[in-house]
């Protein structure tokens, strides 16, 4: 049990390192948000308290480096994973397709709330890049889900 958590945390550190090291950019770009995909997989397989701890760490790193208003990432992540906890009441998380739907909803809520918050707080016109990121991450998540399902089978 403990071993699973330790391995997951080590993998989390690796994912965050990849995201911050290879995703670091000074110009605006759209790319795959692997940290979010990792959090979705953690959401399905680990405890909610542990997930919140990971969300907290991710938010600190993303907020510090990206220079958005403090707490933006934390609020968005808590909001979309909060909604997904409600979704679990309606969908069965042990089934592949319901996991796929829940994950896609999390990604969509994350990017859409990011877009709305950014429009309200900063009045910037970034909608095209944010929507591009949403599509990339969604495709990435679906591919990862199918791969893990195939590996399990």
């Amino acid at each position: 049990m403990m071993k699973r958590y330790i391995l997951n945390f080590l993998l989390f550190l690796l994912v965050i390192f990849f995201q911050t090291y290879f995703g670091m950019t000074i110009f605006l770009s759209s790319f795959l948000n692997i940290a979010l995909i990792f959090l979705i997989f953690t959401f399905f397989n680990f405890s909610p308290y542990y997930l919140f701890f990971l969300i907290f760490l991710t938010s600190i790193i993303f907020n510090t480096l990206s220079g958005f208003f403090w707490g933006t990432h934390l609020i968005i992540l808590v909001l979309c994973f909060g909604i997904s906890f409600l979704l679990i009441k309606f969908f069965e998380k042990s089934y592949f397709f319901s996991r796929l739907i829940i994950g896609s909803i999390i990604i969509s809520i994350y990017f859409l709330s990011f877009l709305i918050l950014n429009l309200i707080l900063k009045s910037s016109s970034l909608h095209f890049i944010v929507l591009q990121q949403l599509i990339f991450t969604l495709i990435g998540y679906i591919i990862f889900s199918f791969l893990t399902e195939k590996l399990k089978a």
Binding site: M24, I26, L28, N33, L65, G67, S124, S125
Partner: protein
Amino acid sequence: MKTMKRKSFRSLLLLVIFIITSILLFQFYVSQEGLLKPNVVFALSLGEPVGNYLTNLRGWINDLFHFNDLRKKVDEIKLENINLISRFQDFRKFQEENRLLKEVLKIKNETAWSLEMAEIVLMDPSGLSGSFWINKGSELGLAKGMNVIVENKVLVGRLVECFDHYCRGESIFNPETRISVEDLRSSVLAVAEVDNKGNFRLKLVPYDSDIKIGDVLITSAENTNFLKGLLVAKVQKVGSSPDTSSVKEFVLEPLLNFSRLSSVFIIKDIVPRL
């Protein structure tokens, strides 16, 4: 009995002949050592020492008795090689630093600005804000609002937050950045800003303005955040706007080279009004 004696005599004779021949050969080898001794020159093209079979044999026997010593020497050489590679890397770093300092000196002579060199240590991983962190802070006199440039006076952005040892800056790609620019050729004034796709575009361009493809744009005196005369971008494409066909649309190509952005210079003595 007789045959036994004859056989032992023959064997003795053969032994004596063998010993005498060996002694003679050894003497010959010693006397002709200068001639036979190969020029132990390391043939670079072959990658192995040049020598005859005798020296090779002698060398092999010698190596056999000293293999521990040889192993130690190989290890020492390997270590020395690593040290040399490391020193070579240091020299390359110094070379790069030297080149940058020469650039600083050139800019200083041209403008009399006081510059501080810093390295970009972190950048935005979300790709949506254009933020970056440098490894120098208020301890060295850096403050909010100072302009950040690279060599050849190309504008990177400005500092927005400063701590003792670090500062956070916003690049010109920040979605909220508006830069008042001036065409270096025709002196036309306009505003450069990032569109929703992350590309630079010219806004507020006067009607019938003389702006052509390839024109270089620099910061104008109208800026509140940036100093005058810093290089920003060049005009990449001129087309008509999709909304109104009479209005021209200008797509810009930033002069900032993303691939080589590690060291930057901060203009310390002039802080634009905020």
